[in-house]
Amino acid sequence: MVLEMQEGRIKVKIKGLWACSLLVLGALAFAGHMPAQSGNADKITVLNPAAASKMAKRAPLCPRLSSLEGKTLYLVDINWGGPDAAYSVYEEMKDWFAKNIPSLKVVIKRKRGPYSQDDPELWKEIAQNGHAAMVGISG
């Protein structure tokens, strides 16, 4: 069998009966690589490896502030990435707030312990002395 381009179309010349046989064999081989058809005899049943996940109980956010004017904002470094990561960004943020919302008091704090460790004492301090908070910054 020979494929030739002729006036934009493919012209097929079949040379001899042996080529026809090859064509048939080729088609069969190609069929063997096609996805199996939908006959039930070819279908199998398998077990599902996945397990269902339980969703978490929902909790709402607390109401937002009307503005940050005259408020106290805590910037809490959770210690992700070491002592020169979030803390350094927070210093820049404090500068930005001083220029843009001068009535806002900004307090930078490092949380106790590694980033996943709770710090109830700090949360209590913020609840007593602050109006809003940012926690971060994880990468």
Binding site: M55, W123, A132, G139
Partner: protein
């Protein structure tokens, strides 16, 4: 971090969390739905934050944009604290019922099912053995435990998914394991899922005791290579369990920056207990188990460094091990994996009568500079925060001049494991920290 924000919100403090966009996607997606339950407001900081000079931090704040909303970052922070709540942010109470996972998948052709398992990310993208009912039933014959018994509930990273004996059997079949391996696999299932960290963690699986020889595990020549069915399929089962029941999927619940090729097999090895020098106890005996116990231990770590060549008379093995251990972070610990010939040299020519004596020598002699120690991000994050809290020895180390030499490894966390075929006097230093181990026989 979402938990810290949640704690503050519950004290009536409007809070915004800042993170890289990958963490934001995780926190507002999977973590919100299956773990935290509160729709924390996040801003996506430009990345990276750690390691950047001050002028870059200045630019992030004064010129940067929120990677989530596209707004100026400072405006996004103000909005998160002042924009009134949407109705969906006020929802409380019980969540909808979890979508059940049917025990059986709809019947389909083998080819389509192989494709489905890949589309669901239930495989390691190598062909699996499909878990037909007959194959899973045969696997379950490897234990006396009931199929619906819960081996453990996997709650990391949230979701409380029950890992049952039958689910373990499904993954064992998928990995190509045999029913006689199943008690070992059930013991191993107690340690699922694999290490999951942006830092590209990995795991090591170590088997000790009579089960090694009963199953014909390879603890000799080429034990760490792809040359043994048990080592290969046990290690692979750990990965498949972690991805299926463990629910660990790239960019959904795992965010390793590079990932680790070790997660294909998890360095699954057995200790060559028969070739231990006299006085050197098998690892599980060091951990308090009986010599006749069969135990599987899993360690978490990152790094794996080869000695490359054989031991030289001019520079004893412990000296080069010491040198190479300086490259490890010092976080957690170290496991030295050595050929029996190295162990014999260390005992016979260097006088280390036990593994513990070698561990003690290494703890005393592996030194790093303070600058190098805290120069590692994981150390800076964990030991650094403890130092700032005033905890010793980290507080003193952090205050010391940068070139001060410290000894960061604790003798209790330096393990020695003997593996290999006595073909060359080679060894690996790794930073895997092995756990005490799980008894296998109780899972028969």
């Amino acid at each position: 971090m979402s938990r810290h924000a949640r704690a503050l919100e519950q004290l009536n403090i409007p809070t915004v969390a800042g993170a890289g966009s990958n963490i934001v996607a995780y926190a507002t997606g999977y973590d919100f739905l299956y773990s935290n339950g509160m729709p924390i407001r996040y801003v996506g900081f430009p990345f990276p934050v750690a390691g950047q000079p001050k002028e870059v931090h200045h630019r992030y704040v004064f010129e940067g944009t929120d990677q989530v909303s596209g707004k100026a970052i400072m405006q996004a922070i103000i909005d998160a604290l002042t924009r009134p709540l949407a109705e969906k942010e006020k929802i409380s109470g019980d969540p909808p019922e979890a979508k059940p996972e049917p025990r059986l998948l709809p019947p389909d052709t083998e080819e389509n099912l192989q494709r489905l398992f890949k589309e669901k990310d239930w495989t390691d993208y190598l062909p699996i053995t499909l878990p037909t009912e007959a194959r899973v039933a045969a696997m379950l014959k490897g234990t006396s435990r009931k199929p619906d018994e819960i081996v453990k509930t996997i709650n990391w990273p949230g979701g409380a998914r029950p890992l049952t004996v039958e689910k373990a059997a499904v993954c064992a079949v998928m990995a190509g394991a045999r029913p006689e391996y199943f008690p070992l696999l059930l013991a191993l299932a107690n340690e699922v899922p694999f290490g999951n960290s942006t830092t590209s963690m990995a795991n090591m699986i170590l088997v000790n005791g009579p089960v090694r020889n009963q199953l014909k595990m390879n603890s000799g020549g080429n034990a760490m290579g792809p040359h043994n069915e048990v080592n290969a399929t046990v290690g692979r089962t750990f990965t498949l369990l972690s991805k299926t029941v463990g629910g660990l999927h790239a960019n959904v619940t795992t965010w390793s920056s590079l990932g680790s090729n070790l997660q294909y097999n998890n360095l699954c090895i057995a200790e060559n207990e028969e070739e231990l020098p006299e006085g050197w106890d098998p690892f599980h005996v060091q951990m308090g188990h009986k010599r006749t116990d069969s135990v599987v231990s899993v360690g978490t770590g990152w790094s794996y460094i080869s000695s490359v060549g054989e031991v030289q008379r001019s520079y004893a093995a412990q000296l080069l091990i010491r040198d190479y251990m300086r490259a490890l972070s010092g976080q957690g610990g170290a496991t030295i994996v050595m050929d029996p010939t190295v162990a014999a040299l260390l005992k016979d020519t260097q006088g280390f009568k036990t593994k513990t004596e070698l561990s003690q020598w290494l703890a005393q002699n592996v030194e790093k500079t303070v600058a190098s120690f805290f120069g590692n991000g994981v150390i800076a994050t964990f030991a650094g925060s403890l130092a700032l809290q005033g905890l010793e020895p980290y507080a003193t180390w952090m205050k010391a001049p940068p070139e001060t030499l410290i000894k960061p490894f604790n003798v209790k966390n330096i393990n020695v494991v003997v593996v290999g075929g006595k073909i060359q006097t080679t060894w690996f230093v790794t930073d895997f920290r092995l756990g005490r181990g799980v008894l296998i026989d109780s899972w028969r």
